[in-house]
C-alpha cells in the first residue's frame, strides 16, 4: 500500500551539496521544501567528533560513511562487448550517502573550470580543426564561464574558500593562477599556509618558469562567518579530510555552511532514510506529479510535488531518469538518445618524490593543501601536433600522512614483507606526491544505462556503467606525467616514481570520485537531457543537478562547477520558473 502525503512546492531527491543549496535558495524564496535523503542523519558532534574522526580503518577502509553496496551498487564493464558485473567493493570511486553525502567526506578542493572548458567542441575545432575532436563526442555546455561567474563567487562566499586570485576582473594578480577566468572578487579568505612539500614543489616549478599558486580550498585558513551566519573554524592540518568528516568545523560542507541556517526555516523539512524509487509522471508524461519513496521500514509513500529536483549523486540522478522514463535513453550503437550519454570520469596519474635529506612530515596535511601549476590544463598550452585535447593541473600535494593509505615506497619495492617495512620506515617522512588531475573527454562507447540482469534491494534494475579511457586521455595523461616528472626532478630528490595511467580503466584501485555526464546539459533536446538551467527538456518541472550535467569533464575537481550550476538553476527557478512554470529555454 502506498500512502499519499500532503503536497509540497518542491521535493529534493538527495541531500548533499546541491540539495542543500537548492533547499536554502528555494526556502528563502518562500517555497515549502521537502528533502528526502536515503541515508542517515549526520552531524559534526555525533558522527565525526574530533575524538574519533581520525580513524583510517573505520572510515577509509571499512567505508563507514559510504553507500552500502549490499543494498545497491552498479554494474561495470569496459566496453559493450563485455558482460557487466556488479561492483561488490568500492575502489575507483567512493559513493557517498547520508545527510551531506560526498560534501561530508570530500577534500575541499574548490575550482572553477576555464572559460574554454565550456566550449570543448567549438573552441578546439576552431583552434585545431575538426579532426582534433572527431573521435570524441564532446559538446559545448550551452553556458559560458562569464554567465556562471557570479554563481562560482556565491559558492566561494558560502564556503569561505581560501586562496589567492590570479585574475581579478581581467587583471593578472601575482601569486594566483594566471590562467583562470576573470574573477569578480578576491577569495573570501587568504590561502592556507603551504607546508614543506608544497613549498619545495613551488620553488622547483618557479625555477622551470612556471607560475605556482596555492590550491583554492574549502579547508579554511582562518575563522569565517558566511553570508548565512554559519561559522567555520581555522583548519588544524590534521590530514583527515577525504573519506572523513571534519570534527572541528573547518571544512566547508552542507553541515558547516548551510544546514544550521536551513534548519531554522519553518518551510524546510528533511526526512532521512527515505529512498526515492522513481519520479511519477502525469498520464501524458509531460509533467511530474511527485515521487514515490520507501522508508527504512519498507513502507512506500507518494509525495506529490509541484517541482522535482534530482539532487542525488550523478549515478543516482541518471538512474532515476531512466527508471522514470524521463528523456530518451542513449544507444551507443546508433548514437541516438540522450539519457546516459557522455559518461566521463577523471584521468589521474601521479609522481612520488623521495628525498634523503628533507623531512616532509606528511601528517601535517589538509584535503586541498597543495601548490599547483596550471600551465598544462585545458587549452592553456598549444596542443598542435600533440594528438590530444585537454590537460591537467599538477599539484605538489600533502593531503595527509594516513598510515595505511599514504606510505609511498620507491620503484621496485615489494608490496609486503620485510623489504616493504624497511622501505616504508625509510621513506614515510621523506616522500610526498605530485598529483596530475586530468580531464576526461567523452566518446561514443562510454555511457550509462540500466543493467538487464542485476537488481537492487528494491527490485529495481541497477545502473550499468560502460567505460574505458579514450586514447585521447591516455595521450594527455602521458604528456602531463612527463611534465610533472620534470618538476619532480627539479626538486633534486633521491629518486622519483612515475605512476602512469596505463591499460584499461579498472574499478579496483582508488582514483577519484569524479563521475560525470549521463544527464548532460546543452543547447537542444537532440543532444542533451537538460537545458542550461538543468531543467529537463521533456518534463519541465523536473531539474537534474550535479556533475551529470557535464558533457565531458575538465582537468579540475568538479564541486565548484556543480555548485555554480546549482546556484544558476536556483536563480532561474526563483526569478522565472515560479512566476511562469514551463520550459525556461525555448528551442
Amino acid at each position: 500500500m502506498v500512502t499519499k502525503l500532503k503536497a509540497v512546492d518542491a521535493v529534493l531527491v538527495g541531500f548533499g551539496w546541491t540539495g542543500a543549496i537548492l533547499g536554502q535558495q528555494l526556502c528563502d524564496a518562500g517555497l515549502n521544501v521537502l528533502a528526502l535523503e536515503r541515508g542517515p542523519w549526520r552531524d559534526t558532534p555525533t558522527d565525526f567528533a574530533t575524538g574519533f574522526a581520525q580513524d583510517e580503518l573505520r572510515y577509509m577502509w571499512r567505508h563507514h560513511l559510504f553507500q552500502n553496496l549490499a543494498d545497491d551498487t552498479l554494474t561495470i564493464r569496459n566496453n559493450i562487448r563485455q558482460e557487466a558485473l556488479p561492483m561488490r567493493r568500492m575502489g575507483s570511486f567512493l559513493l557517498g550517502t547520508g545527510v551531506g553525502s560526498g560534501g561530508v567526506h570530500w577534500n575541499g578542493q574548490i575550482w572553477r573550470f576555464l572559460p574554454s572548458d565550456f566550449l570543448t567542441r567549438s573552441h578546439n575545432e576552431r583552434r585545431y580543426g575538426k579532426k582534433a575532436v572527431q573521435d570524441l563526442t564532446v559538446q559545448d555546455w550551452g553556458v559560458t564561464y562569464e554567465e556562471l561567474e557570479p554563481y562560482y563567487d556565491q559558492f566561494d562566499q558560502l564556503c569561505g574558500t581560501s586562496g589567492k586570485a590570479g585574475n581579478l576582473n581581467g587583471r593578472i594578480q601575482p601569486g594566483g593562477n594566471p590562467f583562470e577566468g576573470a574573477r569578480s572578487k578576491e577569495y573570501p579568505n587568504p590561502p592556507m599556509k603551504q607546508t614543506y612539500g608544497p613549498t619545495l614543489f613551488g620553488e622547483a616549478a618557479a625555477k622551470l618558469g612556471y607560475h605556482p599558486f596555492p590550491h583554492p580550498t574549502g579547508n579554511l585558513s582562518q575563522p569565517y562567518v558566511n553570508p548565512l551566519g554559519a561559522q567555520l573554524g581555522a583548519c588544524t592540518y590534521c590530514g583527515f579530510c577525504e573519506k572523513f568528516g571534519c570534527g572541528n568545523y573547518s571544512k566547508a560542507s552542507p553541515q558547516t555552511t548551510i544546514l544550521p541556517y536551513l534548519l531554522l526555516k519553518p518551510n524546510f523539512t528533511l526526512k532521512t532514510e527515505c529512498e526515492v524509487l522513481r519520479v511519477e509522471l502525469s498520464a501524458d508524461r509531460t509533467r511530474a506529479t511527485g515521487v514515490t519513496f520507501v522508508n527504512s521500514a519498507g513502507e512506500e509513500f507518494f509525495q506529490p510535488a509541484e517541482m522535482v529536483i534530482l539532487s542525488a549523486y550523478v549515478l543516482q540522478n541518471v538512474r532515476l531518469l531512466l527508471l522514470s522514463g524521463i528523456g530518451k535513453p542513449y544507444d551507443p550503437t546508433t548514437g541516438e538518445g540522450v539519457v546516459g550519454k557522455n559518461y566521463a570520469y577523471q584521468t589521474m596519474s601521479s609522481v612520488n618524490v623521495f628525498f634523503d635529506d628533507k623531512i616532509i612530515n606528511p601528517f601535517i596535511g589538509a584535503g586541498a593543501l597543495a601548490t599547483v601549476i596550471d600551465e598544462f590544463n585545458g587549452d592553456n598550452f598549444d596542443h598542435s601536433g600533440k594528438g590530444f585535447i585537454g590537460g591537467a593541473y599538477i599539484a605538489g600535494m600533502v593531503t595527509g600522512g594516513r598510515p595505511i593509505e599514504m606510505i609511498y615506497t620507491p620503484q621496485g619495492t615489494p608490496a609486503w614483507g620485510m623489504e616493504w617495512k624497511h622501505a616504508a620506515a625509510k621513506n614515510y617522512l621523506r616522500s610526498f606526491n605530485l598529483s596530475i588531475h586530468g580531464s576526461s573527454m567523452s566518446q561514443r562507447g562510454n555511457y550509462l544505462d540500466l543493467d538487464p540482469t542485476y537488481r537492487d534491494i528494491h527490485g529495481r534494475p541497477m545502473l550499468r556503467m560502460t567505460f574505458d579511457f579514450p586514447e585521447n586521455d591516455i595521450g594527455m595523461s602521458n604528456f602531463l606525467t612527463d611534465r610533472a616528472a620534470e618538476v619532480a626532478r627539479a626538486m633534486n630528490p633521491r629518486e622519483i616514481k612515475l605512476n602512469r595511467r596505463v591499460g584499461s580503466w579498472s574499478v579496483t584501485p582508488y582514483q577519484t570520485t569524479h563521475n560525470t555526464g549521463g544527464a548532460i546539459m546543452g543547447t537542444n533536446p537532440r543532444e542533451s537531457v537538460i537545458n542550461k538551467y538543468l531543467q529537463s527538456w521533456d518534463v519541465p518541472n523536473v531539474f537534474s543537478m550535479g556533475a551529470g550535467a557535464f558533457p565531458q569533464n575538465a582537468g579540475y575537481n568538479p564541486t565548484g562547477t556543480v555548485a555554480a550550476l546549482a546556484y544558476q538553476a536556483a536563480h532561474a527557478i526563483i526569478s522565472q520558473y515560479i512566476k511562469k512554470p514551463g520550459p525556461l529555454v525555448q528551442e
Partner: protein, 453 residues
Amino acid sequence: MKRHLKILIVVGLFSAIALVQILSWASTRNPVLERSASIGITSEITPQGLLSHSIPDTTANASQLRRGQYLVAVGDCVSCHLGKAGQPLAGGLGLETPFGVIYSSNITSDQQTGIGGWTADQFYRAMRSGIGAQGENLYPAFPYPSFRLITREDSDAILAFLKSTPAVNYTPPSNGLHFPLNIRASVKGWNLLYLNDEEFKTNSIQSSDWNRGAYLVNGLGHCGSCHTPKNSLGADQGDRFLQGSLVEGWLAPDLTSNTRIGLGRWTTEQIVEYLQTGRNAYAAAGAQMGEVITYSTSLMTPEDLRAMAVYLQSLPSSKPVTVETASASSLRRGAAIYSDACTGCHLQNGVGQPRLFPPLDNNSMVQQEDPIGLIHAILGGTHVGVSPSRSTPFSMPSFAWKLSDAEIADVATYIRNSWGNQGSPVKTDDVRDLRSRLDLNSIHYTANSGDQH
C-alpha cells in the same frame, strides 16, 4: 521528564509519519538527548517564528502586540513553556528542583487549557503576586518574585500577545512535588517570608541605561532565578545576588565584577556580543544559557542589551574564595589527557578559536568554585545557543564513552589550573555522581555508530 528536552533546537523538522530519526544538533552520545530525538516535532510554528514574525500594521492593536512579542522574548517565556512537540508556549516541560519536578503551564491562547480566558487583571496579579486565575497559588518556579517589577502596561502587552498565539489544547502533567509543597497553600507561607512587595523604583543617581538594565535583569529577565544562590527553601540568598548557582546539574556562573570568576574582565561590548550571539572572545553560551540566547537575548534590541551590561558591570565583585592546590600527579595526567582529547578544538595552549571553540585560558566558567559545569560539559557535551545572525550550534561532544571518571577529574583539574586559571581540584566522586545522574554509566551508541559493513 528531563529539562534536556529543551536542548533540542526546534528546527521545524516535521515527521508526521514518524519515520525519521532526526537527531538534534546538540545530540552527542548522551542517551537523554537520543531519546528526545525520537519526538516528532509536529508544530508548524517554530518558537523563532513566533518570536520574530512581523505583525502587520493592519492588525488591531499592532503596537501593543509587537511590544508583547518583544517582552515574551525578554522574559524568555519559551525556554520553560516549550511544548513537548515543539509548540512554543504549550508547556509541559519539567523543571527539576530540589523539591521535585514542576511542569510548566500552557500559556497559549487556548480557552480551556491555556490562558485564553484570562483577564488583564488576573494576568497582572499572576505576574506580581503568583496567584492564578482561580485564585490558586502558583509555585515560584514561575518567577513572579522577579516579574513583580513589571509595569502594568508591559503586563497587558504580554497577555495581549499571548492571546494572539495559536491555541494548543494541551494539559501539562501534574507536578511531582514532595509533601508539604504539593499543597499549593504552602506557597502562601513562602510568599510571606520571601516575596518582596517593592515596586520597581528608578535610582536617580544612576544613568538611564543602568535603570533600564536593572528593570530588565531583576524583572522580566529574571537572571537571578538561575544565577543567584538559593537557600534551603529555594529563595534567593539576597547577600549573594548573581554570584552563581547550581541549575539542573550545571552551574549558572557568577555575574558580578569578579575578575576571575565573574564578568570583571569583560567590556560592555563583549557582554552585548555574548547576549546577542551566544559567543564572544571569552566564552560560549551552552546548556540552559544557550536557550536563553536563542529564545530571548538574541531577539532583544542592542540598546536593552547594553543597558543590561551596564547594570551587571555595576555589581560589586563577589568575595575571593580559597583555592586548594592540585597535586602534581593529577596535573601531569590531566595534561596528557588534554593533549590527546582537547587540543583539536581548544588548542595546546588553551587559546581555542574565539567565538567558535571557547578559549580556556583565563576562562571564568572553568574557574567557578563548583566545577559541575565543567564536568557536565566534558561528560555530556553541550552546544552553543543559535540565533539568526549566528546559526552554527558549535558543539562540545560528550566524552563519557571515552574518558573514565578519574580521567575526567584529572583533565578538569588540569584545565582549572593552567594558563592563568585557578580552581580547586575536581574529585573523581563528583564526576561519578554526575555520570550516574545523567545515566551515562554505559556506552550508548547512536544509530550511526560502529562499522556498518
